[in-house]
């Protein structure tokens, strides 16, 4: 499903599965939280998918990328909120985390760039370029390797929300 169609289906079509909230300071106290949270949550969300084990493995990989990105946010005050939705073959992750305005602008540019053609070529370039920002590799990687549709919302003045639609069920079969 293309971004525009998804927008039409919109939020009402997505059923909420899970809502996870955590103090950002608690989350960033240990890097292992990214791995642990992504595995734990992916297992729960995937339990009724066609192949729960592989779906969970794939979802955990994608979610971990997002969590690691939020872990690197320059802001520590506030909450990390991770909400999961599902519509048919698509898992939607809405990940909100505190983020300073300069960093928000940086992410906006990256997400805007995803809408242009040449994602694959850009991604291949970024893989080998150690000067390219990690965030760019993460977002392009999600778009190219997971067929993700990625949107950005500014939820509050000092927070940012990534809305990421992942058609994982289709990727697995």
């Amino acid at each position: 499903m293309k971004r525009q169609e998804a927008a039409v289906v919109a939020d009402t079509a997505f059923e909420q599965l899970l809502n996870l909230e955590m103090e950002m300071a608690t989350f960033t106290a240990d890097w292992l939280h990214c791995d642990q949270l992504s595995n734990y949550v992916a297992r729960m969300v995937s339990h009724d998918r066609r192949d729960p084990l592989r779906h969970s493995n794939l979802l955990s990989s994608a979610l971990n990328e997002l969590l690691e990105m939020s872990f690197r946010s320059d802001a520590q005050e506030g909450e990390l909120i991770c909400v999961f939705y599902r519509h048919e073959q698509i898992e939607r992750i809405e990940l909100s985390f505190p983020c300073p305005s300069q960093q928000r602008r940086f992410y906006s540019v990256l997400v805007e760039d995803l809408k242009h053609n040449g994602q694959l070529a850009n991604y291949v370039e970024v893989i080998a370029d150690e000067t390219a920002p990690l965030e760019q590799a993460v977002l392009l990687g999600l778009a190219v390797n997971y067929d993700a549709d990625i949107e950005l919302r500014t939820s509050t003045a000092d927070a940012l929300t990534f809305v990421v639609d992942l058609p994982l069920e289709r990727l697995l079969h």
Binding site: D35, L53, R54, N57, S61, N64, I127, A128, L171
Partner: protein, 392 residues
């Protein structure tokens, strides 16, 4: 990366004989410095080899972008500084993110390629994936289940357990276990999408929603360790060319104190009366035929040794004979006929056997069917069931 008590485990090593860098576990470092030693090992070892350098990532269950980019850069740099070297990254078809990620490396360097390893791992699978074989597999399970439902409790199966049926095929055994032993959780894994599709469709027809079917490589499973109280692997170790690898995986996913249950045949001991000599000759040849394709259908009695060698304790082994007298003799005959089609009709032909050999080979199966359907006849198919406990 140095593992501590709560870190996911990640290890790397180099196999000089195979020119293979092997990584295992979860690779999610915070920064490149966390995996500096592993990258250094990779860089150093690439310098020591000629020809083909293998990067085996089949057992890496997770990898983040930080690690992927660092690994990619080492490989790309090596492919540029040593253009005569071919670098092959081995991944598993089960781990979807890995095949998605590593396909890009060939775009960075023509000397790097990705190979999906496990498609070549199962020598016996191609012979039984044909959909026409499904009714026979169902009949076989029905015939063995008459015995196994009595045998399984002697090997420790109780209700309320977490069970994994590895190499579950069309899933009928998992369905029977679910009904008879009411597990707390049951997972069924196989490497055949076609078999799993069938298993899921049967489950759907019967409104069974609590069996987790999963596509997987039994030698490199995605399950975390110490998960299951009872792990079954029936009639499958005998058709793998490296059964010890599978046993290690069965051991790994079994909880300490849990048990692994295996069944295997000894085909040369299939028997029948009348026409015993012809039957015996053919089944001796069956054993040799499978050996030609790197499978050991004589494995049954070796179950005890295999389990002990893997580290299991309290090993129990027993045999049972499926016979034409267990139920409808025609079912037994149908199974033998299917064996004839596959063994004589496909495998023997693929080995390049002469028409005369194939004709004699077929005759033994025909005689086994004759014995099974004879009013005073007897036909048998012996199976060994063994189990061992993972030490506490």
């Amino acid at each position: 990366m140095t593992p501590n008590s709560s870190s996911p485990v990640f290890t790397t090593q180099f196999d000089t004989g195979n020119q293979e860098f092997v990584a295992t576990g979860v690779l999610r470092p915070r920064s490149i410095t966390d995996i500096a030693d592993d990258l250094l090992l990779l860089r150093d070892k690439i310098e020591t080899v000629q020809g083909v350098f293998y990067v085996n990532l089949k057992r890496v269950t997770h990898m983040n972008s930080t690690a992927f980019r660092a690994l990619a850069r080492v490989l790309v740099d090596a492919s540029r500084s040593r253009p005569e070297l071919r670098i092959v990254v081995l991944t598993s078809s089960v781990v979807a993110w890995a095949t998605q990620l590593f396909r890009h490396l060939s775009e960075l360097s023509p000397n790097i390629s990705m190979e999906i390893y496990d498609s070549a791992f199962y020598p016996g699978q191609t012979f039984v994936e044909n959909k026409s074989f499904i009714p026979i597999l169902r009949t076989q399970t029905k015939m063995t289940w008459r015995h196994e439902r009595e045998i399984l409790p002697r090997h420790g199966l109780r209700s309320g357990m977490a069970i994994a049926d590895i190499c579950c095929g069309i899933g009928d055994f998992a369905m029977l276990v679910r009904k008879e032993f009411d597990p707390a959780r049951i997972v069924a894994l196989d490497h055949s999408m076609a078999s799993l599709d069938y298993a899921r469709s049967v489950a759907e027809d019967f409104r069974v929603r609590d069996i987790e079917y999963t596509y997987g490589d039994a030698s490199q499973m995605l399950f975390e360790g110490d998960q299951f109280d009872f792990v079954t692997c029936r009639h499958s170790l005998q058709i793998f060319n490296r059964p010890e690898l599978l046993l290690r995986e069965l051991y790994r996913i079994c909880k300490p104190g849990g048990r692994v249950y295996i069944t295997n045949e000894k085909n040369s001991h299939c028997l029948g009366e009348p026409r015993a000599d012809s039957i015996q000759w053919t089944y001796n040849e069956v054993a040799k035929l499978f050996r030609h394709f790197d499978m050991d259908v004589e494995m049954g009695p070796k179950g005890s040794r295999l389990l002990l060698d893997t580290g299991f304790e309290d090993v129990r082994i027993e045999s049972f004979m499926v016979t034409n007298l267990d139920g409808d003799p025609q079912e037994f005959a149908d199974v033998i006929e299917a064996w004839e089609d596959v063994y004589a009709g496909e495998m023997s032909v693929r080995r390049g056997d002469s028409p005369e050999f194939v004709a004699r080979f077929r005759q033994g199966f025909r005689d086994h069917i004759f014995a099974a359907l004879h009013p005073r006849g007897y036909a048998g198919w012996p199976i060994w069931a063994a189990s061992g406990q993972k030490p506490l």
